[in-house]
């Protein structure tokens, strides 16, 4: 892999940009690999990269039914934060944050990680108490967190509704200064390029249609490009975890739901942070092109359709205007949907499965993007050693049987309410 640098840019610029190396190869699949990862999204590609980088396992293929970055890694709102409350989540997402902080350097690819800070507004004294609890948990775990009063919030984000008529007056907020956003496509491309640089085969337009077995053990996959043998198989297929899990014989506590994201026409710089509305479900940041990127709730019923319904567009717009009346006349440019693999506690699953040879990375719900590097790091460890990484030990498939769920929202075992 040729390194990107100011010098390489200059050299290629002088040569008319005709000699750039392909970002990753397009190899024909080999007959067998030590590890086959299904799904070339952020998590699958990160897993492949860390298998080579941390464990020296390079005979690896990443199979993708569509194209690199065409799934949820290219459909999310790119928010990165580590403000989780429950043990297991808190430490995992902070580890992920630390990997984000070194990612562009580690991958030699600018993922445009921007630590602009995330502000979540509080709308009552009780909510601010709860945020203080959260901030204390974060700080005890060495994570930055600040509690802001109404005047602090007003100084930082004066464009929110501080009027007498605000439906839910802003009482204060919690701020994580190290939170922010990244260029989501660059994350997929950066991991793909770095994994390819280690000799890993990324095979696009190759859908897994079934599994090859020897007795109880799974020893390979059937694909639209033929059979491929595998010492170990890791599933990282987001919204389609149930579909592939069923083909392998796994019963899963997962439902697929659609989450929409939105972008407005470009505006001059307005939103300098990531802002989340504490009184409803709405979160917004501004892209480098000027569009306001935002999202809200799930559509609310099982769905594999990568498109959303207009009822949620209206709800999200209502929440947006309640928090930021100044954007009421901004036009929506696009909205799109991604298929989330929702678990009953809204926490992910990274673990070996009861089926020999098969490992699972899924159940990311609507929070997978921020977890991309740590998910890859820990899943690579699980694939290499056969054991859960200490940071993902809580994310077992077993936890639903044993009553050790990690339900941050306290919503109960209803995937569509998480």
């Amino acid at each position: 892999m040729r390194r990107y640098s100011a010098l390489s840019l200059l050299r290629n610029g002088l040569a008319g940009h005709r000699h750039w190396q392909r970002t990753w190869r397009a190899p024909e699949p080999k007959r067998a690999y030590d590890v086959v990862i299904v799904g070339a999204g952020g998590h699958g590609l990160a897993t492949a990269f860390y298998l080579a980088e941390n464990h020296g396992i390079r005979n690896v293929a990443v199979l993708e039914k569509g194209y690199v970055g065409g799934g949820n890694v290219g459909r999310n709102t790119t928010v990165i934060r580590s403000n989780y409350l429950l043990d297991g989540n808190t430490q995992f997402y902070e580890f992920s944050m630390k990997l984000w902080e070194g990612m562009s350097r580690a991958l030699n690819f600018n993922v445009m990680f921007s630590q602009r800070g995330q502000i979540v507004t509080a709308h009552s004294a009780d909510q601010l108490d709860f945020f203080s609890h959260r901030a204390n948990v974060m700080r005890l775990n060495g994570i930055d967190a600040e509690i802001l009063d109404r005047d602090d919030v007003r100084r930082l984000v004066p464009y929110l509704d501080f009027s007498e008529t605000a439906r839910f007056p802003i009482h204060g907020a919690i701020l994580q200064g190290r939170a922010g956003t990244a260029r989501h496509d660059a994350v997929a491309w950066g991991y793909a390029r770095a994994a390819d640089g280690h000799g890993i085969d990324i095979i696009q337009n190759c859908e897994v249609t079934g599994f090859l077995r020897e007795g109880e053990k799974i020893v390979g996959v059937e694909t639209t490009r033929g059979e491929i043998g595998a010492g170990k198989i890791g599933l990282a297929v987001a919204g389609h975890t149930s579909v592939l899990g069923r083909k392998a014989g796994l019963e899963l506590p997962i439902e697929s739901h659609v989450l929409q994201a939105f972008v407005t026409e470009p505006l001059k710089p307005l939103v300098d942070h990531v802002v989340a509305y504490g009184a409803d479900h709405f979160y917004v940041s501004q892209s480098d092109k000027g569009g306001l990127v935002f999202g809200g709730n799930l559509d609310g019923y099982n769905s594999y359709a990568q498109r959303g319904n207009l009822g949620v567009v209206r709800e999200v717009a209502e929440a947006a205007i309640a928090l930021m009346p100044n954007i009421s006349r901004v036009r929506l440019l696009r909205h799109w949907g991604g298929v989330m693999d929702m678990t009953p506690d809204a926490s992910p699953i990274i673990c070996p499965t009861p089926i020999d040879g098969l490992y699972l990375n899924g159940g990311w719900c609507y929070g997978g993007f921020k977890a991309t590097p740590a998910s890859g790091w820990c899943f690579a460890h699980t694939l290499a050693t056969g054991k859960p990484h200490p940071l993902t030990a809580a994310y077992s498939l077993d936890r639903f049987r044993t009553g050790r769920t990690l339900d941050e929202a306290g919503a109960g075992p209803f995937a569509w309410l998480q």
Binding site: L252, A305, R401
Partner: protein, 88 residues
Amino acid sequence: MLRINCPHCGPRDHDEFRYGGDASVTRPAHDDPSFEAWYRYVYVRENPAGRHREFWQHVLGCRQWLVVERDTRTHVISSVAFARSSAA
């Protein structure tokens, strides 16, 4: 917006309804001591990419619980019935 043809009220937008999840799971008997049966009832879901039987309650209408059969890829609704009279 999905249009659900409520057997009592006629066709209505889905935001008049509350979603109630997979209707194909059956609750174990109250005195069933099988841990596995309760685990499966509470957590395990078929989650098909295709035809799905699911509960909806017409909260802003007749308040009846319904069983709707819908394709999760296309949202085409093939049947709607009162949950009370719909065989599981």
